[in-house]
Symmetry: C2
């Protein structure tokens, strides 16, 4: 090896070592992918790039992430294993360069009409001994063709990328499992109460919408999501004769019912990692004027999560039918929330509530879309 090419390779290796560390530095899939495409394009000077993920159950590859102007058109495209250039690379496990795509019989044409592909470099991604996807670069910048050095560089680049993507996927999957399990159990608790079908899910959506509108950051919204999912879990300890009574409660029954706030926090208090969400569970029936329960907290003494859940919970209760009264009209419920601002509810939360109402965004659909954007797996950088 001559000194020049040895120096070049040393510089390459040094970049690759640094990129490997960067890729390992996050378990957020979107961030790993965004970083990967940015570094890949810089390392090989390409016009655009994409990561395709293999769905083993259907033997199809789908766009996990793609950059640049082709993004919109192709994000829903799927390619069978073995089909086209990406499908072939996934199947064979061998990286490939195709410098004149039009002359390649397997070229299937551009997916996005705005983009014209000249040349492709594609390398397989592997993790834990399995193939997990393909990294693809399109069109070298300032030169006609990808060369073997580009291919070798991307082969080395793909080696840490596979595990980084897979680790982020596993972490995200475990997080989903956590939330799904907690939601299923919270809904089972809710089912004992015959009047509240779907209440938990809606309170979560409304709470996250409100928190998002108020500018809470990702970590705060994540805590709000868990707290709102578990806000009524203490009802597990409320006896049937109180929980299932088809009429308003008497004083004694009401004082039993009120205990669900304390019991909910108590159930979760043995889990150190949930320390931050306990206040949202315990205090979601407090009122700004100190007339709420269980602690009679006032104003800013009430944790923000609890003030948000209070509005979401009350709005959903008012707009749902109960055995002893019909659901209120949306407008009437909104007016009630507005009327409670400053006495029952936090004015900042009510302001966010009114803004969502004014924009027609206080809906289950908008809530689902915001949740998917915040916590969902699929991404488009």
């Amino acid at each position: 090896m001559d000194t020049d090419s040895a120096d070049q390779r040393l510089a390459d290796y040094q970049s690759l070592l640094e990129i490997g560390v960067e890729l390992a530095g996050s378990l957020d899939l979107n961030r790993v992918l965004e970083l990967a495409l940015d570094r890949a394009e810089k390392l090989c000077r390409a016009e655009t790039s994409s990561v395709w993920q293999l769905d083993e159950s259907s033997s199809e590859l789908y766009f996990r992430v793609v950059r640049g102007r082709v993004a919109g058109d192709i994000r829903h495209q799927r390619v069978k294993l073995g089909e086209g250039i990406v499908g072939r690379v996934a199947q064979s496990g061998e990286g490939e360069i195709v410098n004149d795509v039009r002359s390649d019989p397997r070229w299937r044409g551009d997916l996005a009409s705005a983009f014209q592909t000249r040349a492709i470099l594609a390398v397989p991604l592997r993790a834990r001994g399995r193939r997990v996807g393909v990294l693809q670069l399109l069109n070298p910048i300032d030169k006609e063709s990808f060369d073997l050095e580009d291919l070798e560089r991307m082969r080395l680049f793909a080696a840490p990328l596979g595990p980084a993507i897979d680790n982020a996927r596993l972490y995200t999957a475990l997080k989903s499992l956590y939330l799904d399990t907690v939601t299923a159990l919270a809904e089972a608790v809710e089912k004992r109460d015959p009047y509240t079908g779907g209440h938990v899910r809606r309170v979560v959506l409304y709470s996250v919408l409100l928190g998002h509108e108020m500018g809470l950051d990702y970590a705060d919204l994540d805590r709000l999501r868990i707290a709102s999912t578990l806000h009524d879990v203490g009802k597990i300890a409320v006896p049937d004769e109180v929980l299932r009574k088809p009429a308003p409660l008497d004083d004694n029954e009401y004082s039993i019912m009120k205990r669900h706030t304390i019991d909910g926090a108590e159930i979760l208090s043995r889990i150190p990692e949930l320390r931050d969400i306990l206040p949202g569970v315990r205090s979601h029936h407090e009122r700004l004027d100190g007339e709420g329960y269980p602690d009679g907290l006032r104003e800013e003494e009430i944790p923000l999560n609890a003030r948000i859940i209070a509005v979401a919970d009350t709005y959903d209760a008012m707009t749902s039918t109960r055995p002893y009264r019909k659901a209120l009209e949306h407008d009437v419920a909104v007016a009630e929330i507005r009327r409670g601002s400053g006495t029952q509810f936090c004015p900042r939360v009510v302001a966010a509530f009114e803004s969502l109402v004014a924009n027609g965004e206080l809906t289950v659909e908008t809530g689902r879309a915001v949740m998917a954007r915040l916590f969902g797996e699929t991404s488009q950088v």
Copy 2:
């Protein structure tokens, strides 16, 4: 740079790139650490090595993992940030070589009497912009001293090791949170039933002990642990008048109680990732002779997890006091399980049960020790 040293460095970098990929390939902390020490010792030819983890709450470093004959004596040692050589490296964030430890004023002496330290190479571990620990090598093999090339090599080696350890730690922490939350909710369900305090936790311990004795692998034991934690979660839907009746149930009440197996599986059925644990929840009251519920399955039709939970559940119920009968003596309960082998219980599970009993291992303490060894965080390779 002359060609020889360039070649050496290229070879180093290539090894380091490969090791980075290996380290990223697991989220199992013990495996990451074992691999790291093995590769570090080979890369720098050292007699032994260790990883120290920083406990930020106490500003102390503790042995995360250590290899070789010094292991036994020092695993419980802790070192303050800034103290000794490891503590200083953690604080300064700069790697160090000390080739004659006896002349270093900060040398605190060997922790293990069987080992004599000559030279130390220590580099800091970082992840997500924070310091997380120290990697330490002791005594170079076949040479007197560690040199600057060793230090540089370990500095590059430590770069991907920090995030790899941190990712495994985050994954393990999320898994613990999952199990803690599910256990807390399962225990809240149990609390409605006034006669079963601590039942869930004991059934989990006994089930894992039985499965472990039967030679189940890690993944199976993990599923068994979750299934046994959730085995009675369907009791959430049993009305108070049945669940809390302080006397044996009549036929109608019994048929309501029996539904907890179906309800439990139903609650969890919406979670795709828990598909594998549903059979353990649904079928833990089946009997080998087909006289069980809810499906009257026979013999091998009954999933293994369910056959294991059945023995654990029955044994714990018999040895706990109920309002209408006292707890059975341990010997009487064991005889009952033995008598049920082949009719109520799976003979393979009963054989494991008898072997545990014979060795005095069917105890909460042994269960906790086995769980810690299987699923715990701390390790000694």
